[in-house]
Subunit: 61 residues, 2 copies
């Protein structure tokens, strides 16, 4: 399966922010995201890196 | 499988830019990306939307 999680880079320490993400959409200085189960979150920051083989999307402030 | 492709939104028309992407990393006003097979590309623009269930990453100028 392709379950991908969103993490926040917090001064080099990564914390899990949203599991099983489907949609990730930058909106100005925020990142909107929605999980496979409909959970929605908005994070003030930007995308640091996406690694699809590692199933990870890392955001930063 | 989780093969994801990168598309460019070109005035509402999407064109395929890179197949089987692994890494996508914003670097200033550019997006660096690398495919599963090591192909590397850099696009001047930003991320419009990621949809993991649709296996699509859309960039815009």
């Amino acid at each position: 399966m392709c379950e991908t999680n969103v993490y926040i880079d917090n001064d080099g320490k990564e914390e899990l922010y949203l599991e099983n993400v489907d949609i990730v959409r930058p909106e100005g200085d925020r990142i909107f995201m929605k999980s496979l189960f409909g959970e929605q979150k908005t994070f003030e920051g930007s995308i640091k890196e996406i690694s699809l083989t590692k199933h990870r999307i890392v955001l930063k402030r």
